[in-house]
Each structure stands twice: as C-alpha cells, then as structure tokens.
C-alpha cells in the first residue's frame, strides 16, 4: 500500500513538529515585538503553520480535506491582513508611530 511507503519515507510527526516550531516562532514574534508590522507578519506565520499542519494530516491519509482547509485558511489570512493593514495605515496617520504600546493610551 502506498500510504505505508509514505510513512516509511517521512513520519507524520516530523511534519507536525515543523508546524509546531513555526507556530511557536510566530507566537514568540507576537509576544516579543512591539512594531505592528512585525505583529501582523507573526500572525501570518502562525496561520501558515496551522495550514501546514492541515496539509500534513491530509497527506498522511491521502485525503483532499487538508488542502481544502488550507484554502479556507488562505481566505481568512487574506481578509485579516487587508483589514489589519488598513487599520495600521490609519493608526500611522493618527499617531505617527507603529508602536503597539502607543495605542494603549486610547480612551473611549
């Protein structure tokens, strides 16, 4: 059976470990950086890592569902990044900075 060959070639948990490492790096980026552009990039990294986990699982059982979920994640990422970048531009016009801590002084 072909699935067995695939397992022999690459264990599924190696792909999942890669996804987990990428996700953890994105989370570290969100926690450590204060620039809003870097925070948005880190969110992209985390979404991408989630999609990678879906595709790895889909490849393990040779089903199309993993790639379908990746397409949905792509749609979510596109919508999120367009709204996020529009907010970032608005914030830059108003505060002249991209520091996330500057927004913590907002009232109402």
């Amino acid at each position: 059976m072909r699935t067995v060959e695939a397992i022999a070639a690459i264990p599924m948990h190696h792909g999942l470990v890669l996804a987990a490492i990428l996700f953890a790096l994105g989370m570290i980026g969100i926690l450590a950086r204060r620039n809003l552009v870097f925070i948005l990039m880190s969110i992209e990294i985390m979404l991408n890592a989630a999609g990678l986990a879906f595709v790895v699982a889909g490849a393990r059982w040779e089903q199309a569902d993993g790639q379908v979920m990746l397409i949905f994640i792509l749609a979510v990422a596109a919508a999120e990044v367009s709204v996020g970048l529009a907010l970032l531009l608005l914030l830059y016009r108003r505060f002249q900075t991209l520091d996330a801590d500057a927004v913590s002084k907002m009232r109402g």
Binding site: I10, L52, A59, E62, A64, L88
Partner: protein, 178 residues
C-alpha cells in the same frame, strides 16, 4: 528523497527566525517570502502540489505584495531616497538570496529525479481538491466568500477615512504653496 523535506524545513525555520529577529521591516518581509516558498516546497514534497501552487500565488504573491505596498506607503519620508540607495547594498539581500538559491537547487533536484510524485506517494491532485471543495464543503466556500466580502468592505471603509484625511492635508499644502 527525504532530504528535500528536511532541507526545506530547515530553511523555513531559519528564515522564520530571521523574520522575528531582524530589525528592518523590509528585510523581515524578504525572509518571510523565503519562508513561505520553503513551506510551499514542503507541500509539494508531501504530495500536495495544488496547495504548493496556492501558497506561492496567494501567500507569497498577493498577501506579501500587500505588505510591500503598505511598507512603501509608510516610507514616504525625506529619508526614503537615502534608503533607496541602501537597498543596493549587497549585504541586505545576500541572506534571503542564498536561502532562495538553496530552494531553487532543491526544486531542480526534485525535477531531475523525475518530477511529479516525489516518492511514489499518491499526490492529492487539484481535481480531487476541487471535487471536495464544491461537494461537501460548499457551505464553507460560501462562508469564505462572505468573509472576503466583509474584509473588502472593512478595508474600503477604513481606507476611505484615511483618504479623506490625506486629501485634506494635500489641499492645505497646496494653499500654503500657492
């Protein structure tokens, strides 16, 4: 053939590390593009060629171009011209260039080995993905289209306000100059 998986995984991790540690946003963007390309090669090796194509076209193409546009809009200062000179410095693009060259060599190796199905594993083709997408997942497609429409309207609304502010400034400047 497993070496392609592990090499591109290492490239993805290294590029992502550079994304979250480098200080200049544009350099981080270059490394992020390399990381997405490496993940696309991982998809291809895992037998998901359609996902790899989508990753390159939508992620590394469309979304990253959006990031580049915003970065260029933010850079409209006096220092922009001096920064343009700095882009030509080889020290900036050697890191992403070397990683991307490694990925290219890996792709050439894959195709030299015979192409489509890396280790005889059955690849999940675009046809199967499409059948699944418009069969059991039709409701999800509708919801995704609704989400994209909401994102479009939201970004348009936010951009509308910002355009109003900017044209106000432009008019003021025009009056001052005139």
């Amino acid at each position: 053939m497993e070496i392609t998986f592990y090499l591109s995984a290492a490239i993805a991790i290294a590029a992502t590390l550079m994304v979250i540690t480098v200080s200049n946003a544009t350099h981080a963007l270059l490394y992020l593009i390399v990381s997405l390309l490496a993940v696309a090669i991982v998809f291809f090796v895992l037998g998901a060629p359609f996902a790899a194509a989508l990753e390159i076209i939508i992620y590394a193409g469309a979304i990253m171009v959006l990031f580049v546009f915003v970065m260029m809009m933010l850079n409209l200062g006096k220092a922009a011209a001096a920064r343009e000179q700095g882009w030509l410095n080889p020290g900036i693009w050697t890191g992403p260039g070397v990683l991307a060259a490694l990925l290219l060599a890996e792709l050439a190796y894959i195709f030299a080995q015979g192409g489509d199905t890396p280790w005889g594993t059955a690849a999940v083709t675009a046809k199967e993905v499409g059948i699944a997408l418009f069969g059991p997942y039709l409701l999800g497609v509708e919801l995704a289209s609704l989400l994209l429409l909401a994102g479009l309207v939201g970004a348009c609304h936010l951009g509308w306000n910002q355009a109003g502010i900017e044209t106000g400034h432009e008019e003021e400047r025009g009056h001052e100059n005139g």
